[in-house]
């Protein structure tokens, strides 16, 4: 009985002392294992990432998205590598057909590090190779309807690559928050017909913890229609955010175009759920406007149905609900999209504004 009581006390303290912990990394004598400098070069295989190919273009975008974080660290990309290999002193990336050994893993990051004491501690990352499994149904496109999270038949290469280069930066898996170092393919942003892979707040925060804050300007706030769902091993799983009735209950819905469409009445009070992220350097209090749109692009040109603001410290994503009223002027039987634009007044000088809006489809009864 004593053992049980002790365990119980430990477990309880674990629950109570829970704080918003973020990214994870390896340590050596308590010190963070990371690159010794603030940059690393990735070399892409000329076989897997041929000049002018869609995958080469996608990889270039991925490196740019990983670099779009407020830390001092960034990758540079060199294409046309003719001699890829493990432990050759170069960071390389390629596709392989050796799916037997990978046993279904979509990609693997092989990280070479050192950690030893020789008249002082020596530690750091030496080399990281990222290998993609060619037997996974990847696509290089960002066309939403091709992608798993939007009902398509392909895994988004870009999200998986962002995840793997998160490892290359020194980050480990994280399964307690909506984040790219969990399940990657449903950590994605969309406004319109294309989807956007990105590093996200949790990993951006991890990059800062490892490498410190950039001296340059890097601010970015974002809205996405995905949120944390649960845990699958070391990975977080994610799910689309929802529209709820005034008491927080589920609205009736159906699926179309790979997305859930919520049924609403004219004049109905609803709760719109979205996830806000601060991917930038500083605390932000962005203003938000909520809109009804006649297409899946939310912009400030759409019908404004509400305003608000958020206080966003860079740590972990913030999933929230906002009560709104469906306008009585909408047409019955027509599809609309309800959504929001964060920093609609352009008060923040952001690295990108392309992630500032997102939507949830609705149909008016």
């Amino acid at each position: 009985m004593k053992r049980v009581i002790l365990l119980s006390a430990l477990l309880l303290s674990g629950v109570v002392s829970q704080v918003a912990e973020a990214a994870a990394w390896r340590t050596c004598d308590g010190k963070k294992i990371k690159w010794s400098g603030n940059s690393a070069t990735v070399r892409a295989s000329n076989v897997s990432f041929a000049s002018g190919s869609s995958y080469t273009s996608a990889l270039q975008t991925v490196i740019s998205r990983v670099n779009d974080n407020p830390s001092k660290f960034n990758f540079s990309l060199v294409t046309g590598d003719t001699s890829i290999g493990k432990n050759n002193g170069q960071n390389e990336t390629w596709f392989t057909n050796d799916s037997g050994s990978l046993d279904g893993a979509p990609a693997v990051a092989f990280s070479w590090t050192h950690c030893y004491w020789l008249f002082g501690w020596h530690y750091g990352i030496d080399e990281v190779d990222v290998v993609f499994n060619n037997n996974v149904s990847y696509t290089s496109t960002n066309n939403k309807t091709s992608l798993w999270p939007y009902g398509g038949g392909s895994r988004p290469f870009r999200t998986t690559a962002v995840h793997e280069f998160g490892h290359a930066m020194g980050l480990l898996h994280e399964n307690r928050y909506y984040n790219i170092m969990g399940q990657d393919w449903d950590h994605i942003h969309a406004n319109g017909s294309t989807a956007r892979a990105y590093l996200g707040e949790d990993a951006a925060n991890g990059a800062v913890i490892l490498y410190g804050t950039t001296s340059g300007n890097m601010e970015d706030v974002a809205l996405t229609h995905h949120k944390y769902l649960g845990t699958s091993g070391e990975y977080s799983t994610h799910t689309p955010t929802r529209l709820y009735n005034s008491s927080g209950g589920n609205l009736s819905s159906f699926f179309s175009g790979g997305e859930r469409v919520h049924r609403v009445n004219k004049g109905q009070t609803v709760q719109l759920e979205l996830t806000a992220e601060n991917n930038g350097k500083s605390f932000q209090s962005p203003k938000i406007r909520y809109y009804i749109s006649t297409n899946n692009i939310i912009s400030t040109a759409d019908q404004n149905i509400g305003t608000g603001s958020l206080n966003l410290t860079r740590n972990v994503p913030y999933t929230f609900k906002r009560t709104l009223t469906i306008p009585s002027s909408l047409n019955s039987g027509q599809n609309y999209w309800i959504g929001a634009v964060i920093d609609y007044d352009n008060a923040i000088s952001e690295s990108t504004g392309s992630n500032n809006a997102t939507y949830i489809p609705i149909r008016v009864n």
Partner: protein, 282 residues
């Protein structure tokens, strides 16, 4: 069986008067059993490292088998071979870390779902997802998140990371794991509750499931082969190939939800595009 084992967990919970928040990711033990060549409970008695013939470090983890849950092994000790590990050159110690690969230490008490030992870079079902740890009678995943039993007898993982509290983080230099102490405003809407699962109950339930699945012909009849650290071996080459772009595949592409198709919509789309995707249209 599950109800019996849940009773022990319920005792724990009744003492503290609380239950633990579960994540909504379910643990599919049937899938783990189906994909396994061998499932056992055991204790790590040795961790050793050896390079492949092409110089890639591998870790050989030897378990003393305490309870065989499913499958067949001829020895009471089994050795698993993982790609990655330590490489010593004089005083210099390097490590190869393979993403998703668990870290092992002598004395670890685990339940393992073993698959394709000696050929996979990670010989566990779904790699780290094929390892559960016995933390003083509480069953957790590789991370130290307790396994919970829900009201409908389904397994899920706690969202709470309790590795420190359960004494699972005793890693030596170079293989540690850290988390930020940054605090913030994470607000979860999850409200699902579960009872913490005890190790003995989990093992008993797995055995019962394995027996039932074997009777239905759902278990593989594969003879497990232990890894031999004395034998030479080579690491996978992972030759570079051109990617197969799976998209677009017409039949698997859903039809987009119909918008109004108005002139306004077209103008808005054009303006946002010209604005680099920024939705703030001046």
């Amino acid at each position: 069986m599950k109800k019996t084992t849940a009773l022990a967990a319920a005792v724990i919970m009744s003492i503290t008067g609380t239950s633990v928040m579960a994540s909504q990711g379910k643990v599919n033990t049937q899938e783990l059993l189906t994909k396994s060549d061998l499932v056992f409970q055991g204790k790590v008695i040795n961790v050793d490292y050896k390079d492949s013939t092409d110089g890639i470090p591998h870790t050989f983890v030897t378990y003393s088998v305490e309870d065989m849950i499913a499958g067949e092994a001829t020895e009471k000790q089994v050795t698993l071979r993982f790609m990655g590990g330590q490489q010593k050159r004089g005083a210099v110690i390097r490590y190869l870390h393979v993403s998703d690969m668990p870290d092992f230490e002598e004395g670890d008490s685990d339940i393992l779902f073993v698959r394709k030992n000696n050929s996979n870079i990670c010989p566990l079902v779904k790699c780290s997802q094929g390892r559960y740890r016995d933390a003083n009678g509480i069953i957790t995943n590789d991370h130290g998140q307790p396994l919970l039993l829900g009201e409908k007898n389904e397994y899920s993982l706690s969202r709470e990371l309790m590795a420190d509290q359960l004494g699972l983080e005793k890693r030596s230099t170079g293989l540690g794991r850290a988390v930020s102490t940054e605090s913030g405003e994470a607000r979860s809407a999850l409200s699902e509750k579960g009872s913490i699962m005890d190790t003995a109950g989990f093992v008993a339930d797995l055995k019962q499931q394995a027996r039932a699945m074997k009777a239905k012909g759902m278990m593989k009849a594969t003879m497990f082969k232990s890894a031999d650290i004395k034998a030479s071996f080579s690491a996978p080459v992972f030759r570079a190939v051109a990617p197969k772009d799976a998209a677009p595949i017409g039949k698997s592409m859903p039809t987009a939800l119909k918008s109004s198709g108005s002139d306004f919509d077209r103008r808005e789309e054009q303006m946002v595009k010209e604005n680099g995707g920024d939705p703030v249209i001046q």
